[in-house]
Amino acid sequence: MQTEYKSPGSKVIFSEESAIKTAACCHCGTACGPTPLVKEGKAFCCQGCALVFELLAENGLSSFYELSENAGVRIAGMPKADQYLYLDEPVVRERLVDFSDGRFTRITFRIPAIHCIACVWLLENLNRLNPQVGESRINFPRKEVALSFSSDKVKLSDVVTLLASLGYEPELKLADLDARPKCVVSRKLWLQLGIAGFAFGNTMLFSLASYLGLDSASEPFFHKIFGWFSLALSLPVVIYSAQDYWRAAWVSLRQKLLTIEVPIAAGIVAIFLQSTYEIVSGTGEGYFDSLAGLLFFLLCGRVFQQKTYERLAFDRDYKSFFPLSVVRKGKTEERIALSQIQTGNHLILRNGELIPADARLIAGPAVIDYSFVTGESVPVEKQAGDYLYAGGRQIGGAIEVETVKEVSQSYLTSLWNQEAFRKEDRDSLDNLTNEYSQRFTKLVLAIALGAATYWAVFNPALALKSFTAVLIVACPCALALAAPFTLGTAHRWLAKWNAFLKSAGIIERLARVDTIVFDKTGTLTAASGGLVKFQGSALSETEERALFSMTRHSTHPLAVRLGYTIAGNHFPETVRSFMETAGCGMEGQVNRQEIWMGSAAWLQSRGLKVASATTESGSAIHVAIHGQYRGCYVLQNALRPETDRLIKNLSNHYELALLSGDNERERARFTEIFGAKGHLQFNQSPLNKLGFIRELQQRGKTVMMVGDGLNDAGALKQSDVGVAVVEDMSAFSPASDMILSARLVPRIDAILRFAKSAVRVIKASFLVSAAYNVIGLVLAVQGLLSPVVCAILMPVSSITVVGFACLATGWMAKREGIGAEKEVSV
């Protein structure tokens, strides 16, 4: 018989052994293990889950479990009563809340645990659990909850404790203290689009009569009144909807540049003045429908291009990695906000907690994982008195440290004082559209002046008319739409594939890249999932299961990785008298087997003869059972699949480099892959990496940096295109232009080819729109451009260009296999 289990890592485990068959937890769906907690005939994996279940049942919220399978979130541990008290500190509180008037407070939390419809339901009915909590609203894509509560009756810390006790612990990071930027921009764009659309539709209705020749002969009065209505409707369009174009055109004229906004603004002015003149003087019906249509289409393009992926943050700095609070040891242990840390404070750091400021170790032993800061893959052991840099993560037991510097003065923080972090994001005026616009605008002006001069000589009445007609017809609506729609489509295709861009414009920069710099650890080599080999006398099934059970009790990264790899079809058994010695190993009894796992030195110190493992690239875990040495697991830092092929492919077209914070031990291996031309640099500090990129740029290179972790943050920011590689889309990533699922690293060549194809599509779209401009110009210079021709030509040209851009880009994406293997987005 087969039973399906979900392990905490939600990896499905199949087991055929009926002896260990257990139920899934009623709350979170995790397998309960051999001894489930049974309450009211229901099985639970832990006390926390059972409490939540009871709480919900008491308050009539049981339908939570009917809404979705595995609705509940596993309760890792009940929050301690005083854990969130620091949130009530006025300094912290005031900067976290959105609004407060003393009696009533509104606050927004990010809660990563929100994952299904049941979460939405439960969190929006929070006031059932605490009547002092008012309305709560979820923003599912952003995983945010905005809630209000009566702050005179309930404290902020109580609200957070309530959320945490349900398994929805809010993410509280240092960055949350900064003011949250409101997304006013997108609201304004929607309003502009709506008003342009409104005017477009209504002026069309007024103009239609005249196009069909229904009124002109019979009722000149209608003619006039429709004209005035159209003029009135177009005023908000010109004043409000076109606002951004006026501003952009003005800015670029002052910089003596001819960006695409200049001919657009000129076109709008020409249409508006010409039409107003015609209405006022009663000589025609004007082009107001074309004017509103033009802006409507242009704004559609901007809305399309402005697609952002809100659940991803592209501009994180160290503050997003640092917690909001730490435990300070004074007379008693208290949780304080990070900003309250002073030099000389004694802090307690538990397993997995980040060192917030440079500090000296007081009581250890500490095992610090610096992989995030330096890229060094193996954690380092520290003894009391050693200096610890901020950004490292303690693994294992709790340690006590004394801060030596303040948070803002520490090693990691100083990276952010670099020039690269101060410079504004290049607002790319040097994009394809503007490049084309430079030539285009000059040409159009020349033609307009030429036509005007010609008619001034032969028929002065037509001179002004042909001049404005040229400006109107050459108004590069279709041209301005080519890039937004091509890039927007490409942006969406890439996102389907879990390659997210900060903005669609990044694609153009990707296409210009000529140098690619890779980070090693976590980028080219997988942080986990590498090859694990056992060397020594073979282990039996039960022995392996015992080892697996042991690994479940350790948080050491090597043990976690080993556990993950050998999990196979094992179910963890109870481990008795477990003991872990930081930096050495762990011991315990499983099923009456005495097990020691750890470093060679540690086993040797217990009098065992340890075979030297062949660890040319990787780490080893040595195993002894019943005091008998059995062999060791060798965990290799495996290259991601297809890395060889990727590097070989790229080296034909790009200059390649590898920067690693790791030591030289893998140089030979990478020289083989990168060949003679690749630059390989080891022992690189974050600042070295940044400098290396800057040097390349000074040599005129356009650099793409592919990295992960904070140690690459400087390089990612400095490079022209910074690509952050993440194993898990909801995990943290440093500031970057593109967030790439680790699975896609071997496909970077396809992404670069696709970017180049997209740029080719834009260029082809320019040709299509130019063809329409030529037709229009031929009509315009002859003074033949009537409102009805304009009203047809403009939308038709726009729609052709948009259709062409979207279809061609989609076709290119299919050709590169992008989006073929869809992944369910997180």
Binding site: L61, S62, I117, W121, N139, S186, L191, I195, F198
Partner: protein
């Protein structure tokens, strides 16, 4: 044809109504999260709580 003098203002009033509704919707933030409301539509109000003699609360009150 004179009916048109009635129809034009009416059509403009109707259209303006829709425009105002749109502006309200945008200001209300309805274009910022288009994923959660469809979920919300499927959800029911929670059932009324089953009131048990609330032992926990009594206990808490007796604590100093």
């Amino acid at each position: 044809m004179s009916v048109i003098f009635l129809l034009i203002p009416l059509s403009i009033i109707a259209a303006t109504g829709f425009l105002l509704a749109f502006i309200w919707a945008v200001r209300n933030g309805q274009y910022e999260d288009t994923a959660t409301p469809p979920m919300r539509a499927l959800l029911d109000e929670p059932a009324m709580p089953v009131k048990k003699p609330d032992l926990k609360k009594n206990l808490e009150r007796t604590e100093p």
